[in-house]
């Protein structure tokens, strides 16, 4: 099965190792991975900052880049939700683009969702002796309803002990431009999230959303808490060396 990779903008230039891990995991699941040229971003920032005209232009670009692809996978819930839920609303008055958006929305998947629901692969041969806690990103859990899939995949990682944190469904405080416009509030939110993470005694924080990882991981790193924050693709690609 051919799978096209969408690499979110924050992954592309800041965390390319997440995209690499995603490609490896997909390959290990038996997929033929492709990387369509010309891709940039889903336009989320424009959409969520109220600049819908710009968002439409970016969305058109996105739809054109991926138009020939049968299946698209992204290591990010928020980008998938953007395309699936918000593109059709953006193109409410442009039926042709709307249809293309709806169509792509059906073929675009978040990584764990794709692995478990579409490819029906659970065992990826990953090994990691560690204690990990999974963070439910709002965009992955609430928006896309993906809760069981990442946990299932992590439970198949040899040697990995998966634990749960208190108030797992509370936002980490990223919210894109929110964290820039209201940094103090965002900081208080991530501090609370981190206190719940630390209380679990996990060595590894795992999420399926790059934005949350930048926020929580950035806090963990600067505060020197010694908990590593990784994308679930990086854990699933890990072989224990």
């Amino acid at each position: 099965m051919k799978v096209a990779l969408f690499v979110p903008c924050m992954v592309q230039d800041f965390h390319p190792q997440v995209a690499e891990a995603t490609a490896r995991v997909l390959a290990r699941a038996g997929m033929s991975v492709q990387y369509p040229k010309g891709q940039t971003c889903c336009g989320q920032l424009q959409y969520k900052s109220g600049n819908w005209k710009s968002a439409r232009a970016v969305a058109r670009h996105f739809l054109q880049v991926f138009q020939g692809c049968e299946t698209v996978v992204a290591p990010s819930g928020s980008c998938v939700n953007m395309v699936r839920k918000y593109y059709p609303e953006l193109f409410r008055d442009e039926p042709l683009w709307r249809d293309r958006a709806v169509d792509l929305g059906k073929r675009l998947f978040e990584l764990t969702e794709f692995l478990v629901r579409v490819a029906q692969v659970e065992e990826l041969g990953a090994r990691w002796e560690t204690k990990a806690v999974y963070h439910d990103s709002c965009q992955v859990y609430r928006a896309l309803g993906i809760h069981r899939e990442p946990r299932l995949l992590l439970s198949r990682v040899q040697g990995l002990e998966l634990v749960e944190m208190e108030q797992a469904d509370v936002c980490c405080g990223f919210g894109g431009s929110f964290s820039l416009q209201f940094p103090a509030v965002s900081e208080a939110m991530v501090a609370e999230k981190v206190s719940h993470i630390l209380a679990t005694g996990a060595q590894l924080l795992v999420s399926a959303e790059i934005s949350c990882l930048m926020n929580i991981g950035g806090y963990l790193r600067k505060q020197g808490h010694g908990v590593e924050a990784l994308h679930i693709a990086q854990v699933l690609a890990h072989r224990g060396e």
Partner: protein
């Protein structure tokens, strides 16, 4: 009431430093949410009930002219008087004139967000009328000279020792801290006011067109006292509160208390139809219903924003909002706080005065999960951001530079080669600024973020590492 929404950031930072407030906010968040969740979990079909609630509000607003006319006719039939107020000022002068004509000296008030919205107390006090908020929480904040910080618990930001201090100072009583004692003091102080009051003023949780009734939910009994003892009862009600029938009321009654406080029913639910009837010895001799527009018909005119008016004012979206739970109600700077406040405030006040509020959300979606009438709050927050940014009729006052930056970034994203060039440029520049993973200088926009968080630097992009990875994968290598 004065609009101070532009101070959101400043007030939020103050709130974050207020340890007592943080403790109290934490407590309401956990307690109210738990109560709400348990109450809904005990229902046979909670989703069906919420859908029904939403359908009722949708239907009611879609047929608003007919329902308002019916309500008016039925209230008159029951012996009440109906007034219509287009603006806050009109509503205030209607009440003020009524009070003057009828020689009102003392007014007792039941808790009502809408009278906060129109700033009624100030108008009446300027006329020399004594106005008493009688809900315990409202009484506390009235004494403190503060606006409510939560729809359901207006004084939830105050601790008992602060209240003890306040009562001792303002009421001249001995300082006691036990909530039972403080409640007793309020009861005794206000009982006197109830007995002597000429006018009781309330809002309404709903108005039933079929019967011309208004419906009031409460736990303390102060609203019942306000509509039982004074000779005049004035209810100020937003036009969006009307519902068609008693059947619809039963649905609202099943939803609202469960959402607000986790109760199956509030301690008191009063269904008031007109003034007292001949032969009855208590209840008001006059009943006045003031139907308030104050910007609601404008919201109604935009189908995308119409669902903002479905709100039952239960406060459940506040209780689950991670932002509200950090910053508290006062940061929002006007009457309505939390997610619903961020949505409706810029629609009710001049938009540029509240332009920050729809952006003060992470769009996490917790609010939409609990809304009893399934208002799509994240969607509305997004729509409000768009209106404030792009809609010339909305006059959001978003700085041009901010808008241009977003547009330029969007433009870059549609020009792949230029975008790559820009990112490579950023990477090259960052090499001079980042040493050992630390930034020597950061753009000011990032400095707040970076206070306690590491800011990643651009690195060799995936598009450049892909060709070699692709070869490896083609050779069957998938190891890390």
């Amino acid at each position: 009431m004065q609009v101070r929404c532009l101070e959101f950031s400043k007030r939020a930072q103050e709130a974050l430093l207020d340890e007592r407030l943080q403790r109290n906010l934490q407590r309401i968040g956990v307690r109210f949410k738990l109560g709400r969740d348990m109450a809904f979990a005990a229902l046979e079909d909670p989703e069906g009930l919420r859908d029904l609630g939403r359908a009722i509000k949708e239907k009611s607003l879609a047929n608003l002219p007919f329902l308002l006319e019916t309500l008016e006719a039925k209230v008159k039939e029951a012996g009440g008087v109906v007034h219509w107020a287009r603006t806050a000022q009109e509503a205030c002068s209607i009440v003020g004139d009524l009070a003057r004509d009828r020689g009102v000296r003392t007014v007792v008030k039941g808790k009502s967000m809408v009278t906060e919205e129109i700033g009624l107390n100030q108008t009446l006090q300027a006329q020399g009328i004594e106005v008493w908020e009688t809900d315990l929480g409202e009484f506390i904040i009235q004494l403190a000279g503060e606006p409510p910080s939560h729809i359901i618990g207006p004084a939830v930001h105050k601790s008992k020792d602060q209240i003890a201090e306040l009562f001792a100072e303002k009421l001249g009583v001995a300082r006691v801290e036990a909530p039972e004692e403080l409640t007793r003091i309020a009861r005794e102080t206000l009982r006197e006011k109830f007995v002597g009051a000429d006018m009781g003023i309330t809002g309404a949780n709903a108005a039933v067109a079929e019967t011309g009734s208004i419906v009031l939910l409460e736990n303390e009994g102060n609203i019942r006292l306000s509509v039982t003892l004074p000779r005049i009862h004035v209810a100020v009600v937003g036009i969006e509160k009307v519902i068609p029938t008693l059947d619809d009321l039963a649905v609202i009654l099943a939803l609202l208390p469960r959402s607000a406080t986790g109760q199956k029913l509030s301690s008191y639910t009063s269904i008031i139809t007109g003034p007292r009837r001949p032969g009855e010895v208590d209840g008001p001799q006059e009943f006045h219903l003031i139907l308030l527009d104050n910007g609601r018909s404008r919201i109604l005119a935009d189908p995308d924003r119409r669902q903002s008016l479905y709100c039952l004012r239960c406060g459940s979206c506040l209780n689950v909002c991670p932002v509200y739970r950090k910053v508290g109600g006062h940061s929002y700077g006007w009457v309505y706080s939390g997610p619903i406040g961020a949505v409706i405030t810029p629609q009710l006040v001049p938009p540029r005065l509240a332009r920050d509020l729809p952006f003060a959300s992470t769009l996490c979606g917790a609010c939409a999960e609990v809304c009893p009438v399934k208002i799509e709050l994240p969607k509305l927050l997004l729509i409000m951001r768009q209106r404030l940014t792009e809609d010339p009729n909305f006059d959001g006052g978003i700085p041009l530079m901010v808008r241009l930056a977003a547009r330029f970034h969007g433009w870059l994203l549609t020009h792949y080669s230029l975008y790559r060039l820009a990112m490579e440029g950023a990477r090259a520049a960052s090499k001079f600024l980042v040493h050992d993973g630390r930034w020597a200088w950061l753009p000011p926009a990032l400095s707040g973020w970076a206070r306690k968080r590491h800011v990643p630097a651009p690195t060799r992009s995936f598009s450049r590492t892909w060709p070699s990875l692709k070869r490896k994968l083609a050779q069957g290598g998938t190891g890390s």
